[in-house]
């Protein structure tokens, strides 16, 4: 009797421990997600200042008859300066500089883009939502305190007075920050975007896939279907399993030493980054492919061979197609792992300030995780929310990829 009591209570205890474990891990994950979302969500919105703009022909080098090409080359800086004089009358030079600093540095670009689309506005006044500078944006969002002494702030007392004046006139607004998705990196946090890093990661993953999937598939087909089990295959198997557990920085060193050192490939390009990630994912893919090939029942092979098919025909007409869903799942998981890796990218130089959006695998680029790392290192307050927003995007991509892997496994995989 006492024995059963003891055993039952042991079971209850074990259940309780399990629940505590699950609860704690859920708690940590949700804390992480809440932290990232609460700091990162600000990056998707940017503060704007409602500003009256008089397109004064005297301050512009172009008119409504200018071609688009001329307009895109023209400087709108004079007009931007004129706009400030137009909205805030009688400014001293110092006040002018301070107010100009409240707007984004790329004020003139915004004017130019508007003029390109609306050439008839010349000599007219329109009201536009002009983006605020990141320092002002951070004050408005409450990420930078207002109540510290002036010398410790980047926005001074005069600028705060103007800000309060604008706020009371309801001229401070907020708009969805498209720039975050359409721009490359920038040193002005308000215009910094993640597209460059996404493209860099995309090219690297493409190269990684093209390199590691066929090699991994063929290697595993050969090992599973064409070799006889023996010491040699055991040795290879042990080595592959070992390679899968090697830290990624080692593959980064391999990429640096071999691809850049021996083959003289260029630094910081997705081609090299992708090949390095490819070295890293290769063992993972081989292991996944081998286990899905092994899951194909021998009766399929025997049937094909009995009907007179050669070994190659058996393999490529029957076994490989049947194993494909499993190999795809393994590959996608390998790719997801490669997407999140920073260390190999670091070694081949794909951690850099790259403003231009890469147009191909031979353009300098940075990857998604390395962009997050670079932003986290920056001193400007505006990059903190960008860092978290970058992490959110990375998580989203990982979730999508892992979900795809699960769906493929559910829908396509054949159950024997």
């Amino acid at each position: 009797m006492s024995n059963i009591k003891k055993r039952l209570s042991a079971e209850r205890r074990f259940k309780f421990y399990g629940q505590v474990g699950v609860f704690l891990s859920l708690l940590f994950v949700s804390l992480l997600i809440i932290k990232i979302f609460s700091t990162g969500s600000g990056a998707f919105f940017r503060t704007t200042i409602e500003t009256d703009i008089f397109f004064d022909p005297e301050l512009m080098n172009v008119d409504q008859n200018s071609s688009d090409k001329e307009i895109s080359r023209a400087s709108f800086e004079k007009l931007a300066d004129g706009v400030i004089d137009f909205n805030f009358k009688n400014l001293s030079e110092d006040e002018f500089i301070k107010i100009r600093e409240m707007y984004t540095r790329r004020f003139d670009y915004q004017l130019r883009d508007y003029f390109l689309k609306n050439k008839e506005v010349i000599n007219n006044t329109v009201t536009l939502e002009i983006s605020a500078s990141s320092d002002l944006d951070q004050i408005v969002k409450g990420n930078y305190p207002r109540n510290v002494p002036e010398s410790q702030r980047k926005i001074n007392d005069y600028q705060l007075t103007i800000l309060d004046e604008l706020t009371s006139k309801e001229k401070i607004g907020s708009t969805f920050n498209f720039w975050f998705f359409t721009n490359g990196d920038s040193r002005d946090p308000e215009t910094a975007g993640i597209l460059g890093a996404i493209m860099g990661s995309l090219y690297a993953l493409m190269i990684c896939l093209v390199f590691s999937f066929p090699i991994g598939l063929f290697a595993s087909v050969y090992l599973e279907e064409f070799t006889k089990p023996g010491k040699m295959t055991d040795l290879i198997e042990v080595n592959i399993n070992n390679l899968a557990a090697v830290p990624s920085i080692v593959f980064g060193l391999l990429g640096l030493g071999m691809l850049i050192g021996v083959f003289n490939m260029p630094f910081q390009v997705p081609l090299v980054g992708g090949l390095t990630l490819g070295f890293m994912t290769l063992p993972t893919i081989i292991i996944a492919c081998r286990s899905s090939l092994r899951a194909v029942p021998p009766s399929i092979r025997h049937g094909a061979l009995a009907l007179g098919a050669t070994k190659v025909q058996t393999t490529f007409h029957h076994v490989v197609p049947l194993a494909l869903p499993g190999t795809l799942t393994g590959t996608i998981i390998g790719m997801a792992q490669a997407l999140g890796e920073t260390a190999p990218l670091l070694m081949v130089g794909m951690v850099a300030f790259v403003m231009e959006i890469p147009g191909g695998p031979l353009d300098p680029a940075t990857g998604l995780p390395s962009q997050i790392y670079l932003w986290s290192e920056s001193a400007e307050r505006g990059f903190i929310e960008k860092t978290s927003a970058g992490i959110m995007l990375l998580l989203l991509f990982l979730i999508v990829m892992n979900l795809a892997a699960i769906l493929i496994r559910r829908k396509v995989e054949v159950k024997w």
């Binding site: 410790q152 920038s186 083959f263 300030f353 403003m355 670079l374 001193a379």
Partner: protein, 356 residues
């Protein structure tokens, strides 16, 4: 299944060959993470003036020198940023790899701030105090002993009773080299025959090495307001609501005290240009000219605003002359390798250990 494999092989081989004949029209900068904020802002301005925006790889000064000195050719970087000047060993590496034409541009000053949390008491330190707090061996009663100090008021009784804990950068950091040269060596009390031990940090857990990540150090300083850390002035300037600097020999780091070298932990910042790449990769000279221009490093310049301190007029005009004429003005990589650096006697070097 066979044909795609063959085409794939062809593709891989052809990309390999494409990489061989890879030409570049985008400047590639490597080097110091202290120069990174300035170099990238300048890069962006260069991009806005019509060139392709240069890329900047923050490898640290030492790492940058290694890459920069690896050879001439588009697969090697064009410019390296440095928060100290080139060492003799690095100059020798450059010479060995055929990088013989290097132009040194000393474009601004920076101050190493010995910072802590805003919530802490103000500290007025001397370099001697800092050395005593951080060195492995110190002199107590005329004898050399392992560092016995555990709180600042043991070093000098008028300092607050804060525990000693300093977060430092890794050895690859130029800021650390400059700190070692300018603070640890200058504040050192060890006799001459033990001079080499001046820069040894204590290893009892009171000096903690962190990665080259200022944000991380700042976060750690805020977690515990008794901790100290050092970084470049620009970082402090951007985070004035959380951090403040201790005064050193009675001087607080500001743009003015750094520019005048009144602040004892001021030091020059450099970029090095690979002269053989000028004309091959467009924009290198323009990049250097912009970086040293009045618009960038003048009183209200875009680099001054984010924390760089201007140079004294006669030095900056000399530097502008260098970027205009591309004449290294007596600095040659041989002279550095032979320890005859022309700046050695200029008196503006923070470390006093140019090309050791």
């Amino acid at each position: 299944m066979k044909k795609p494999f063959v085409t794939l092989l062809a593709l891989v081989v052809s990309t390999l060959f494409a990489a061989e004949s890879f030409a570049r029209d985008q400047i590639n900068i490597v080097g110091s993470s202290t120069v990174y904020p300035y170099g990238t802002v300048n890069a962006q301005r260069l991009g806005e003036s019509g060139f392709k925006t240069p890329t900047y790889n923050p490898t640290g000064t030492g790492g940058g020198m290694k890459l920069f000195c690896a050879g001439v050719g588009v697969e090697h970087p064009d410019i390296t940023g440095a928060s100290r000047n080139m060492k003799a060993s690095e100059a020798a590496l450059c010479l060995e790899n055929g990088v013989t034409n290097v132009i040194e541009v000393m474009w601004a000053n920076d101050g190493i701030t010995f910072s802590h949390s805003n919530t802490a008491e103000d500290f007025a330190l001397t370099r001697k105090d800092i050395w005593k707090a951080m060195a492995a061996y110190v002199v107590v009663d005329g004898k050399i002993v392992e560092n016995p100090y555990s709180s600042w008021n043991e070093i000098r009784s008028d300092l607050p009773d804060y525990k000693i804990e300093v977060l430092v950068a890794p050895p690859s950091s130029g800021t650390r080299d400059a700190f070692d040269g300018g603070v640890m060596e200058k504040g050192c009390e060890l006799p001459e025959d033990r001079e080499d031990d001046c820069v040894l940090y204590r290893e009892d857990g009171r000096v903690i090495e962190m990665g080259e990540n200022d944000t991380l150090i700042a976060q750690k300083l805020n977690e515990d307001n008794q901790r100290f850390g050092y970084f470049g002035y620009s970082y402090l300037k951007d985070n004035g609501d959380k951090l403040k600097a201790a005064s050193v020999e009675g001087v607080l780091p500001t743009g003015e005290t750094i520019a005048s070298y009144e602040y004892p932990m001021a030091r020059p910042l450099f970029i090095y240009l690979k002269a053989d790449h000028i004309g091959v990769v467009p924009g290198i000279q323009e990049f250097a000219q912009m970086m040293a221009s009045e618009e960038a490093i003048g009183d209200n310049g875009y680099l001054t605003k984010i924390g760089a301190a201007p140079m004294v007029p006669e030095l900056i005009s000399r530097v502008r002359n260098i970027t205009d004429t591309l004449d290294p003005m007596g600095f040659s990589i041989e002279s550095c390798a032979n320890k005859e650096h022309p700046l050695k006697n200029a008196g503006y070097a923070f470390s006093g250990k140019l090309c050791p």
